[in-house]
Amino acid sequence: MMAHWQHYHVPQTVAEAVALLERYDGGARVVGGGTDLLLDIAQGRAPAPQALVDPTRIEGLGGIGREDGFVVIGCGATHTAINRNPDIVAHGTCLAESSGVIGGPQVRNVATLAGNIAHAMPAGDGTIGLLALAGEVETVDASGRRWRPLADVFLGPGSSAIDHHRALLIRMRFLPTVEGEGSAFYRVMRPQGVALPMISMAARLQADADGTIAAARVTIAPAGPVPCLSEAASDTLVGSPAGREAFEAAAQAALGSLSLRDSKYRASRAYREEMVRTHLPKVLSVAAERAAGARIEPWGEGK
């Protein structure tokens, strides 16, 4: 393989990482597991930076924990770690599920959720789980740290609001599902040579004791230039009794508001619409059952 960068830095502190980015003044780029970025560079889809800055070993950013009531995920956390984390399995199930089906085991062992978000792909099958959970991300640059909603990060295909030459995405967080809440994820792949899902769906639901849906977040991708939250589906659900009728209505509402597209070799628009029509109700149903306290094993490979 070609020499694509001259320096590979593994800073130990956030300050050190920020200083490195400052020092290179735009010539460095942040890398997580590298399983997308390094291929983009090798195959000419991204320019080769002078230096790579790898924040995955920064003290305190490698793990998953609780802070201020949030589940907080460090930028060093791999998809494997997220998929297996008991807290996320129990209280952010759709994220555990989506993290368990990206790539293969070797990729999930190094690829980070932070990297997946920064890559900002419309298919975003890793990110829509976090988006359904109303996740937030924390970035840091020379001007300091700030939290912002995940949805604000995505600008377009492969384009994020985080300047990966000058800023780091260091943590992600979401409020864990509590009693009366549940989430679920599902996606459809084809076996042929397209390493991206035909469609992915995730949902987080909150139901009252009488089964009325109190809150809902439904995400679908690819359904536009960025991973997409279907407000129409959420609006349809809120106030309705959890059940097939509401779920099917939500799917119809989602279809009415989303721009599902024909994409050559990946999926036809008709197929995607059919998947939303038939499978979004299933995702919602699993989320609702979980909200009602049912223990449904996380979906994933081998299931």
């Binding site: 590979y8 090798a42 990729v107």
Partner: protein
Amino acid sequence: MSRLNLTVNGRPVELDVPESRYLAEVLREDLRLTGTKIGCNEAECGICTVLVDGTPVNSCVYPAFKAQGATIETVENLSTDGQLHPLQQAFLDHGAVQCGICTPGILMTSKALLDEKSAAGEVVTETDVRVALKDTSCRCTGYQSVVRAVLQASGQEVPPYIPETRAPQGEVGRAQPNPDALAKITGQARFSDDYEFPGMLHARTLRAGVPHARIVSINASAARALPGVHAVLTHEDVPGRNRHGLVNIDWPVLCDDKVRYVGDAVAIVAADDRETAAAALERIEVQYDELPPVTSATEAFDAGAPVVHEDWPDGNLLKHIKVAKGDIETGFEDADVIVDRTYRTPTVEHLFLEPECSVGVPAGYDPSTWGGDSDAQAKRGERSVHDKTTVYVGSQIPYQDREQVAAALGTEPEKVRIVATLMGGGFGGKEDVAGQIHVALLAEATGRPVKMLYSRQESLLFHPKRHATVIRIRTGATRDGKLTAVQSTIYGDGGAYASLSEKVLTRATTHASGPYDVPHVKVDCLAAYTNNAPCGAFRGFGVSQSCFAVESNMDILAGELGIDAVELRRMNTLDVGSVTCTGQTMRESVGLNECIERVDADMRDDGFRWSWEEGSSRFAWGLAVGYKNTGLGGGAPDKATAEVGLWLDENDEPRAEVRTSSAELGQGLPAVLAACAAEELGLPRDRVAVLLGDTDYCPDGGPTTASRQTYVSGNAARYAARTLKKRLAASANPGSSLAERVAGAVSQGIPTTAQYEYWAPETQPLGTGGDMHFAFGFCAQAVLCEIDMGTGEVRVRKVIAAHDVGRAINPLTLEGQVEGGIVMCIGYALMEHFIQEQGRPWTNVMARYSAPRIAHAPEIVSHIVEHETADGPFGAKGVGELPSIPTSAAITNAIQRATGVRVRSLPVDQDALLRAIREGEREIELGWGDRESIPFVRFKE
């Protein structure tokens, strides 16, 4: 350069290396731990897997400095103190090692699973194995043996799956691991890229990048001026013949007047390293005058179509192949029911997991000149002095490589030597020369060894594929199910150069009425030159294509006649006494009916149903049968020569070696040759070594193609052994031991080496009506498919197969061929399509080409049928291609039964299938990657 600290296989290492290094490069190049292989550089195939602090990662895209301070484990560390790791032993016992290129990655991924489960005190389940190995690819085994081996290694009682065969006769019929398997599981096996000669340069190829153009000018002066560049060669620098080819000599070594596909080689560079060579490529200026491309076989003959080869007298018609038997008009007049359909099959990539690599060594090379060790005794390798231009390569046809390299160098074949290295899969894709000629030219131009390693992306772009076809086929039968006529017209896309198109498409044509006794047959095949990637040999060799059409039509016919699909086939099978569509009378060894019986009996167990529903899925069985010639046939001289030598070892025990140029692709030829020779000599098999593919030391075994080597080289080894044994007996006392006879011969000056040139029974050219082939293998396969009616996803759940192989010489490696072949054909049916748009590959990275992974591999139940053929070694005939022939039709037959939808283009597209199910369509013409319906085909008059 920066300091990198690692603990590798228990040993601390400190290295000063560039920070741009990947972990795989550090292991392979800096530490020379070449057990770790690189298959794609895309994190797709997983064969480069090593453990970083116990976790499996793809080392080919893992930055070395990300591993700073980490503990690395590679395959070289698996066995301790000469004791094999349980995984290694299990892989040997189960035959889970074929070509061996993926084996290190699979072993390391599996080790991590076993370690994790054992630490957690949990039992390893089959699901665990399938999840862990999800993205660690193997193109050879079909995964069943891998799953079972890993389960056994975890401490469970899982015996190797070996089908029942006739009782062994001495060494023949005994299940044995291939002799080279041990080196492959310990990381010691050496493939071409594992060779590193002192003073070696690295080469790259400038490819056309445009599908069809006239070359106006080539200016390489800037590239030649780049520091670190040692040679830049264009067509002007080819001293001999600037064309190569296995049948037609039409493929430029380096393009001169025109380029005919995007992968065409225009210039080659040798430099100090690959980076410099790549930089040099960018400095070569080529001016093209672009021409419109020919993009499909069905358009190649249109009036006004661009012409690919102006000097070819028939325009874009590479060959019109004809088969005729009886009178086709009469045949259809006799028919009560006629089924007339058109099918399409895709261009398919071999995806052997080892990209092509050749190393050229110039005549007169002495490693000591470049600071290496020189060993006067060394016959080959980095320490030997090379007296001729030598090419190290994993090739299917070493002697033809030698001839083609010599022709380009403008020298005699005897002045060139080909040394076969291990081959990381071939499947037909390593028959045409790849870098062999280029490294020879560069080695002679620079006076230094030169390595040309293709990246995965370059391999995809460059090498010949399986032919895309459009096949119209009309099948006629009487009301009671007797076939009366088959008429077919086949369009085959040969791509830019002839390669083996004529041979492949002849096989498609001669097998186009299926393994049936049909009185009236007419088949025409039009092989086209186009500006797509050249197409050549690929396991199944044209028959995979025509079988899909034949066996789809048979199921439609069964439906229209209201006859059971198995029964309809049984009523029409070829048997001893039948006459094939080429006029050949079958005299023996036709085990097709027994194959059908065995599969049918197994399939129709208690409570059998053709189809049923379960939840949101429908399940259905589908069946197809197939046959495939053994050997070149068609009047081609089909011979193999082998040499057997005997000597006494340090304990005065006799040992033997079989030598022939025939190639091992992972199929298990050394085990077969050793068994054949051992049986004749009366030696245990482990005393018989096998040396393959060194043209200075091995006689010509001919091409490793056409499922022929067990038959021809097996016979050659057997007769050479017999000749030698007779010679020794003639000069010895009756009753003396083999050891005494060897000693006696040596003392009397009688040679203890014998060669035998084995000629297979003569065949006749197509059209003469005689024996087109000297043997055929037969098979039947029943496939259980599950179709998710909510998504259209198709899964193959189980395959029951029966293969008539004449005689099972080594049931373990035979079963490996069966399982691997079936899974490869599942890929053909459901996954694989090398997509080209206007002559440019959309499939330009491995991420755009999926072949079966462990998740796609079903349970396989295998029956071996042994209808011996008189001239085969111990009755054996070929099996290499047979399993890859009927599976695709069996799958679409199952899909039809489950969903009511007939799929006529491969690979099956779940998107189109689901929409057809929803809309009540009964037939679909779009496979995945197809943009247009199947073109209308007029039968050729």
